[in-house]
Symmetry: C3
Subunit: 142 residues, 3 copies
């Protein structure tokens, strides 16, 4: 991913890039919007904790494709109140790679359960399957 | 499309995948958000009927590219009230392929006309143009 | 980008295509949602002026990748009130290429600052780096 930040326009408000270019020939991963729910079904109260869970889920999903948070191209985040932006942004800044991805943030009316304060959805891209380091078997000497 | 559903995180709430991987070298289709309006301009009252129309429209659009609903990679759906989620989800579950695509759902304030209760937008992907089966002409036997 | 507009469904409400197909092997650019803020930090009152600034920003971002507004595949636009749709649509119609990209429009509750009335986010695609025309040096005649 190549960040696009033209000098002629206002710099990003926070830790994100104005655009992200994906070279031809890369794999793409489209993730479902993630919500702040743990594997055991618990939903933390705070938006920061919810966002952290979202990013942990996203990391797990990308991991299934041999990708990681640093491969995110764009984050679309939705919060249910302006007051939740700060907690979300702290979590985002702690989780994105360098250079940071493109990012869109807005306030919406709600998600699948009223308890959720934030939903985070990403697109990621990476070159063809990175090969796992091959295990070298040294032939025994005779 | 390869579904990504890590065992370590909470399973999807419904019939969708946590992520969808598009291999390198595929065509992509980005659809406009579809609304529940028929070719004759009528807008059904129910959200299920509106969502069914959205998916019918999406199938027609994808068809222009030689793709079908099973090629959807991610669905982004927006409803104007939590009460509309059920009808939308029933329609989605009836229309998506197996494995199901990634999916994001949220409540927003409205669309281009107040009558619309749901808007559905998809990204789809498929290999280079599938060739139509060539018509085989059997030479007559003499 | 190839527009997808099946004859069997209702024609687009305005200047956009129902779908846009990206051939295999193209570069993609994902832009951050742009807001109506000038390089000097001023935010115009009107939604049309805000949307014009968004498109100017988007043109600058795409320019960093050797792309232009005509390479937009899909626009996702969000306004905070139905009354803002008209001004946004006038700006969109003035800025998109021919054929026009896919487009999704909805009303949401707000953006990073209460002054913002519209947010515009795009995906664009183009073939591998277009080469700049090489400067031809004519050998001096002796």
């Amino acid at each position: 991913m190549k960040p696009l930040n033209p000098a002629s326009i206002r710099a990003p408000f926070a830790r994100y890039s104005h655009g992200a270019e994906v070279p031809a020939g890369q794999r793409l991963v489209f993730c479902s919007g993630q919500l702040g729910i743990a594997a055991d079904g618990t939903i933390p109260e705070g938006v920061r904790e919810q966002a952290d869970l979202c990013f942990a889920n996203i990391a797990a999903i990308l991991g299934e494709a041999g990708m990681a948070l640093k491969d995110i191209v764009r984050i679309n985040a939705y919060v249910t109140d302006r007051a939740h932006m700060k907690g979300y942004m702290e979590s985002r800044d702690a989780h994105v790679g360098t250079p940071p991805p493109a990012s869109t943030l807005m306030i919406v009316s709600g998600f699948t359960l009223p308890e959720f304060k934030v939903e985070i959805e990403v697109v990621a891209a990476a070159p063809e399957k990175r090969r796992k380091p091959s295990r070298t078997v040294t032939a025994p000497k005779f």
